[in-house]
């Protein structure tokens, strides 16, 4: 099964397109998403049939106390983890019905990730880290390198191109992670506590950078503990004990979409 490189349209194979696509205009639709963790004989329900819809170009912030299920939500709706119930449509494509190989390719072409712990590959240089998603998408090495360098320049790291992550500060590492998430020109960027390991000044820099990217039309789903970070979003949802307890459009105070399932 071949998934084409995106050109604005969601990717899907001819075989599965009809079965898996939804007619909605939303870039992300989560319906009744349920996730259970099992450890020994114990079961912990992390998501209780959660519903969520995100239109293209939205900057969505997800807040909630520790253990509320924020990261689980990100993992499940981005396709990093399997779900135990419900379905997730990304650009109309039911991602959990895809094989691991298809889902992996879909991630490579449609999504970018930013993690709290940066998660850069320590043995690659900054340039190599950033060009990885491009090479995955089949971009030629020379072009990938040029685009990686341009993206790094954009995040203010033109002077750190050949450094390895351990040689960079936390803020610089997170900017590399941002560059890596953006280099492949994804449709959605998932950011899990991107400022969690940074001091306030660095956190502000990163958030401003994300804000600029969002302004250019990028869909951004950001998990945070920090209300000041969340305040930059268009919309804020709050999760508690695996349930969506609040959904508000920032600036208007009005409820935005679907509530908890």
């Amino acid at each position: 099964m071949i998934l084409p490189i995106p050109d604005g349209a969601p990717a899907a194979s001819a075989d599965t397109e009809d079965d898996m696509k939804d007619g909605s205009d939303s870039i992300l639709v989560a319906e009744g998403v349920r996730k259970v963790y099992r450890s020994g004989g114990d079961e912990v329900v992390a998501l209780h049939g959660l519903d969520l819809t995100v239109p293209p170009g939205e900057f969505l912030a997800v807040m909630g106390p520790s253990g509320s299920g924020k990261t689980t939500l990100l993992n499940c709706v981005s396709g990093l983890d399997d779900i135990d119930g419900g379905r997730v449509l990304v650009d109309g494509l039911s991602i959990h019905e895809l094989s691991d190989k298809e889902r992996t390719r879909h991630r490579a072409q449609e999504m970018g990730f930013i993690f709290q712990a940066f998660n850069l590959i320590p043995v690659f240089t900054t340039t190599e880290n950033v060009e990885l998603p491009l090479l995955l998408a089949g971009v030629h090495e020379r072009e990938a390198r040029a685009r990686a360098r341009a993206t790094l320049a954009r995040v203010g790291l033109a002077h750190r191109l050949e450094r390895r992550p351990p040689e960079l500060s936390g803020g610089e590492q997170q900017r590399v992670a941002v560059a890596r998430a953006l280099a492949g020109r994804p449709r959605i960027v998932w950011a899990d506590e991107p400022t969690g390991n940074l001091d306030s000044e660095m956190a502000q820099n990163v958030i401003e950078l994300l804000g600029e990217l969002h302004a250019e039309g990028l869909t951004l789903i950001l998990i945070t503990h920090d209300p000041t970070v969340a305040a930059h979003a268009d919309r804020l949802i709050t999760i508690r004990d695996g349930r969506l307890v609040a959904d508000e459009r920032l600036g208007t105070g009005a409820p935005a979409a679907v509530g908890a399932g």
């Binding site: 990093l80 992996t104 990730f113 993690f115 320590p122 990885l132 998603p133 030629h140």
Partner: protein, 951 residues
């Protein structure tokens, strides 16, 4: 010995036992880290046990050799400690009488014996069976049984055979296919005597008495009066019988040897005026057993040391990885107040447990390995002309010693590594921040400069005295010692690259630049050379990893698996260097041995021609009943015959406290005229024939081969050269002459001619003992040497003829040499298991260590197969590098040795391309196979799980 060895193991274990008993926290840390991941703990143990197995196996094969030769002492000598050789019949009678007066406090047996070499035949229907070289021993049966006070040890029967009957040994009965009551025919001194077998005796003590090489005792034991009858009329063309007296020291079969010196002195006193030759035969054999056992142990340990070092590198690697994985835990432990010494203690105690388990298991595996080595060696040594039975024995003392050596080596490595990995910065450890590059310390500058100065002095001293270890290690110390100093003026990487390249270059050519050093160097020099070369080359390669990586990546930039697979080994140079070293070390010695074996094999055709000279067949016959030249000449197909007289002589060169036995073959003009063997060095003579003629004409000259006195009795490191002088003597009469080496011949292996000496000089020295019983024969065109040899053997059965095509004898020797090399190769290949097991363990740990990056890559969209393949790339890159470094260095070293020195003899340098290719492909292939399991595990890591958890 076992107790002492185990006591050492216990002593070195005391600090760890103290930690286990008195430091509950450290004990808990150590034990829980072991049981936390039992599968990986098992892998660590299995990966580390091979060193102990190799050391134990080396001891077992050495013990087998020692025990086998000791068995020969029991079988061939039993109670016999001294062999007193009378000059003739008259002195023998007198000697026998006088030796009966030897003090009873030291001697518990004196037995006069006379022996002759005879051909014995038997008839089984129309079939004739023959035993060419049989010893007929004349003695008093009753006296022989009492000899030494232990009748069982003599092997003699309780009752002497009936009158006119004789006793024979089981070995002879087997060869002839005869039983009690059947007839045998003894052919000696031109007569044939029919005897009836009255008893068949074991190969033991007096019954099995033999001073000949080989393990069989083909004896006919007859009463003295019958011996005289068989002896008949001595011919001037036959060697007279040997008249001797056997002496048994008090103390039993083995312990009596302690009285040898005293008893020899007493024999000399008692026999004053008769001048007999007194030979402490038991001590000679037991010394030979000890030396052969130690030699075998040393040879296998020396070669196995590459595998042992590879195993130690694996241990270091594993501990470095364990420390890296546990860094945050270690940092936290230090943060909450644990002293660094405690960390070392916990780590080392964990390592002690691994070392103990690995050494115990390795020792058991080593006993099995030793058994396999003994079984394979037995097959190799059991050839037509060289029968030797190896006995598999397990001596607790040796196992204890091997255990202690392996245990102490492993433990030392573990403690040093633990001390190194426990040195950490608390904050950096907790936050998993990499350690900054080490600062330049003045201390290293001082140590380095002192080392360089020491290296320079050592080099100068070694160059002056041609001492091989100093020539290799002196410059190595000089170069590496200079690194801190040179790094001050130059970038460290460039400085160390240059110095390591210089060290590797010097390591490869040192023995060739000083060729004389290599010629007499011990085998261990090649271990040192291998270690120096591989270490330097791996350091150089480690510093050039990025260049290597860039080149490889350029070839396949788009391949993500290639990029990812190279990223880790290129970024973690020290770890990569450790693994590459493991491969390089083992492949170095394997290539070395394989190539030498190949070169020797390739030299066989020329070697056969050199040894053969103008001759095709060698015919041996009984010295008491030799074939007459005129009879041999009548055999169809004969063109020319060169009669040769072979005897055992006493040789003594400077540096020897007592003479040693070595064969001497006397030749005459016919030998030279028909084409004498080629010479390695003809000295000052214009041609080889001129050299042979000079030796024939001048009794002060002799020809020896390169192995002369090297395998028995010669001074350590002795090598005969043109001009070397020595005393050659008749062991029976004591007549001697000082001779000088005029030329060096080729080693003739199973032909065993020993030194070549002109017949006139030999006759003057050895008198009647010298009889032409060996013949070199040239054949008419078209006559097949093998078929001819078979015909001669059938025609001259009564003369004890043993005929062989010289090419066949040489082929047999080359086959044996080849098989020995194959055994070595198989043994050395065990070292490869260390490398392969090592890479498997390293990769399994790497999967754990890289869980989070793998999760990230999978999140970014890396296909699972690409992750798996990247592990294959990494393994292939490391294994290929190590293999290429090892093979290239070995070939380079051998090339310089072969082309620049005589250390390797007459071989021509050539590369066994196909075996080397097989070695390379098999090594890399096996390593890739070993990586399959961790690669599959890595590819199955689910991104969300890897990102959520750190363990």
């Amino acid at each position: 010995m076992t107790g002492a060895a185990l006591l050492v193991s216990l002593l070195v274990s005391l600090p760890f036992l103290f930690v286990i008993v008195r430091r509950p926290i450290l004990r808990r840390l150590a034990v829980r880290n072991v049981v936390r991941r039992p599968r990986e703990a098992l892998l660590v143990v299995v990966g580390s046990m091979l060193g102990a197995a190799i050391i134990t196996g080396s001891f077992v094969i050495g013990d087998a050799m020692n025990a086998s030769i000791r068995a020969v002492a029991r079988q061939h000598l039993g109670p016999v400690d001294e062999f007193v050789l009378a000059r003739d019949q008259t002195t023998w009678d007198d000697l026998s009488r006088r030796l009966r007066t030897l003090p009873r406090s030291d001697v518990d047996g004196v037995l006069p014996v006379s022996t002759m070499d005879a051909a014995v035949t038997a008839y089984r229907g129309k079939q004739i069976t023959s035993a060419p070289h049989t010893q007929v021993i004349g003695l008093d049966f009753a006296q022989a049984r009492r000899f030494g006070g232990d009748p069982h040890a003599t092997g003699m029967p309780a009752q002497a055979p009936r009158r006119n009957d004789v006793a024979i040994t089981t070995d002879l009965a087997k060869v002839l296919g005869v039983h009690r009551g059947e007839a045998i025919y003894v052919n000696a001194y031109g007569t044939r005597t029919m005897l009836i077998v009255g008893d068949i005796l074991p190969r033991r003590g007096v019954a099995g008495f033999s001073l000949a090489q080989g393990q069989e005792s083909r004896n006919v034991l007859v009463p003295s009066w019958m011996f005289e009858e068989i002896r008949g009329i001595e011919s001037t063309y036959a060697t007279p019988p040997t008249m001797a007296v056997l002496v048994s020291n008090r103390g039993g079969v083995e312990n009596g040897v302690g009285r040898t010196d005293r008893v020899k002195a007493e024999i000399a006193r008692a026999s004053r005026g008769l001048d007999p030759q007194v030979i402490g035969v038991k001590r000679l054999v037991l010394d030979q057993a000890e030396a052969a056992g130690k030699g075998f142990t040393q040879m296998f340990t020396t070669m196995g040391s590459f595998g042992v070092v590879a195993g130690l590198l694996l241990l270091v690697q594993l501990f470095v990885m364990l420390a890296a994985e546990r860094k945050p835990e270690l940092g936290m432990a230090r943060a909450v107040g644990m002293r660094r010494s405690w960390l070392v203690g916990a780590f080392a105690t964990e390592g002690w447990m691994y070392a103990l388990a690995a050494t115990v298991l390795g020792s058991v595996a080593g006993i099995g390995l030793g058994w396999v080595l003994v079984a394979l060696s037995q097959q190799i040594f059991d050839t037509k002309h060289n029968r030797f039975e190896l006995v598999f024995v397990v001596r607790p003392a040796s196992i204890g010693l091997a255990f202690t050596i392996a245990f102490v080596i492993a433990l030392t490595t573990i403690v040093l590594t633990s001390a190194r990995v426990s040195r950490l910065n608390i904050i950096r450890a907790i936050r998993e921040i990499p350690e900054p590059p080490p600062r330049r310390k003045r201390r290293w500058l001082v140590i380095g400069t002192a080392g360089a100065a020491l290296g320079l002095l050592w080099t100068m001293a070694a160059a002056g005295s041609s001492e091989p270890f100093g020539l290799l290690l002196g410059p190595t110390l000089l170069f590496f010692g200079a690194a801190p100093l040179l790094s001050r003026a130059w970038a460290t990487r460039s400085a160390v690259s240059l110095l390591s390249a210089l060290t590797a270059g010097w390591g490869a050519v040192a023995l060739a630049v000083f060729p004389k050093t290599a010629e007499g160097a011990p085998v261990t020099i090649y271990v040192v050379q291998g270690l120096v070369l591989v270490s330097a080359a791996v350091v150089f390669a480690a510093l050039q990893q990025e260049r290597v990586g860039t080149a490889v990546k350029r070839a396949g930039a788009q391949a993500l698996a290639l990029r990812l697979g190279l990223a880790y080994p290129l970024a973690r140079r020290s770890r990569t260097a450790l693994t590459v070293s493991m491969y390089a070390l083992v492949v170095f010695i394997l290539t070395f041995i394989t190539t030498i074996s190949h070169m020797i094999d390739a030299s066989a055709v020329q070697a056969k021609a050199d040894v053969r000279g103008g001759y095709s067949v060698v015919v041996d016959s009984s010295t008491s009943n030799p074939i007459l030249v005129s009879d041999l000449a009548r055999v169809p197909g004969v063109r020319n015959i060169a009669p040769l007289a072979r005897t055992t002589a006493n040789f003594q060169v400077e540096g020897m406290s007592k003479p040693a036995f070595w064969n001497l073959t006397a030749f005459d003009g016919r030998f030279v005229a028909n084409g004498a063997p080629a010479l390695v060095d003809r000295g000052k003579y214009p041609s080889e024939a001129a050299a042979w003629r000079a030796v024939l004409a001048d009794p002060d000259l002799i020809v020896v081969d390169p192995s002369f006195l090297q395998t028995s009795g010669g001074p350590p490191g002795f090598e005969a050269k043109i001009g070397t002088t020595m005393t050659v003597a008749d062991p029976q009469t004591g007549r001697s002459r000082v001779v000088r080496v005029a030329a060096i011949s080729h080693s003739d292996m199973f032909l065993n001619n020993g030194a070549w000496y002109g017949r006139p000089g030999a006759k003057a020295l050895f008198g009647d003992q010298l009889v032409a019983a060996r013949f070199y024969v040239t054949l008419q065109a078209g006559v097949d040497p093998t078929a001819f040899a078979s015909r001669v053997q059938g025609r001259f059965v009564d003369n004890g003829a043993e005929a062989s095509a010289i090419n066949d004898l040489m082929d047999e020797a080359f086959t044996m040499t080849n098989q020995i090399f194959q055994l070595f190769e198989g043994y050395l290949a065990l070292g490869l298991l260390v490398g392969i097991a090592g890479i498997a363990v390293v990769m399994i740990r790497a999967v754990r260590e890289r869980r989070r990056p793998i999760g990230t890559l999978r999140a970014l969209g890396f296909p699972s197969k690409t992750i798996g393949r990247s592990f294959g790339v990494e393994t292939g890159f490391i294994a290929l590098q190590g293999t290429l470094i090892g093979a290239t260095l070995a070939l380079l070293t051998l090339y310089t040795l072969v082309t620049r020195s005589d250390a390797m003899g007459d071989v021509t340098f050539s590369v066994p391309w196909i075996p080397l290719l097989v070695l390379l492909v098999a090594t890399v292939g096996a390593s890739l196979l070993a990586t399959v399991a961790p690669a599959v595990t890595a590819s199955r890591i689910r991104p969300a799980v890897a990102l959520r958890t750190t363990d």
